[in-house]
Amino acid sequence: MRIANRVLAVAVALVLAGGGLLIAAEIAWAALGHGPLVIPYNDWYARARVDRWDTAGPRSLFLVLAVAGLVVVALQLVRPRPRSVALQSRCARAGVSRRALEQAVARRVGAQDGIVSAKAAVDRRRVRVVAVTRRAEVDLRPRVEQAARASLQHAGLDENLAVAVKVERDRS
């Protein structure tokens, strides 16, 4: 999302910078008595005098503008997962990298006896852990939760994040 925003921001900034300079240059050039440089404004002017608001051409243009605007607004409303989870600190702004925390929790849970593999996903309020086991007879959930909590405790985040555990049976 952040990368998409960066790309979009660069594109919009380029359009603003390039478009603004081009329009200013066209105005200056026209003031000197010359015709269009790049923008065919004479054609646009002639069409704008004829085209009506309720005709297909302008409607299509306005539809594209409105949809593009709404799509970008909708994209901005999506809250991305945090890049880092905040730590209590005295003066600095401090946090633990979310991705690194997910990997650390998965490593610790995966190292538990009976666990074949594990995945962790951290959002703003909790850690979701999915552990895979081949054992059917034992309830591994408490042990998995304990391992995940131990990881959070080392990171100083055990009070900030809740832990949700799901243990799946490996049927392969």
């Binding site: 925003n5 200013a24 105005i27 503008l65 890049r83 946090g95 650390a104």
Partner: protein, 201 residues
């Protein structure tokens, strides 16, 4: 400092991009929405069947040619300036800004290279137990410098204790070395399996 719910989730450049994009998108939506509404007769059938460039507009521009086009040129240049500033902000995020930390005294000037000072801070933090590696970068400006510190630590490291040591020790020493009254710091820890490269002081 009580951490916000999340730190570093969106840094300044991300927030600016988001704000800029929302503003641009709202303008597009408003223009597009107005055009569609007018075309569909929301402002009456006469307004819908008007040409895009109304006679009254052409008369107005014809009567005020010089101020109108001068204003349009200025507005275009303003847009171009905003676009260029926005582009520059993207580049500034990826390249460290030069911060002048020169101290002028009676007998001359002391020049401190920001990159060197940040490197020294990182090396200082790397000496702490549990730290695998560290990197630092000075950002902000002369009046309000900030330091971004990234610390890779072992999974088993006690992060809160390490943070307290960094705040009380490394950052404080760094602030004093640069002769700064205040220093904003952003510290990000990354948990890793890489063994600590602890060095003895």
């Amino acid at each position: 400092m009580t951490g916000q719910a999340i730190t570093g989730a969106t840094n300044r450049a991300d927030r600016r991009n988001r704000a800029g994009l929302v503003l641009t998108a709202l303008i597009l939506t408003a223009v597009g929405g107005y055009g569609l509404a007018r075309g569909w007769g929301a402002f009456g059938d006469t307004a819908a069947s008007d040409p895009l460039l109304a006679e009254s507009w052409r008369t107005f521009v014809g009567r005020n040619q010089t101020p109108f086009w001068a204003g349009a040129a200025l507005a275009s240049l303003l847009l171009a300036w905003i676009g260029l500033r926005w582009l520059r902000a993207q580049l500034a995020e990826s390249t460290p800004r030069r911060i002048d930390l020169t101290h002028h005294g009676d007998g001359g000037a002391t020049v401190i290279m920001p990159a060197g000072a940040a490197q020294a801070l990182a090396a200082d933090v790397e000496r702490y137990g549990g730290v695998a590696s560290a990197s630092a970068r000075l950002t902000g400006d002369q009046d309000a410098p900030e330091v971004d510190l990234r610390v890779d630590v072992a999974d088993s490291c006690n992060v809160p204790a390490l943070l307290a040591r960094i705040e009380d020790d490394a950052l404080e020493r760094f602030r004093r070395a640069l002769d700064l009254e205040a220093l904003d710091a952003n510290v990000e820890f990354r948990l890793t399996t890489t063994p600590s490269r602890r060095r003895v002081r």
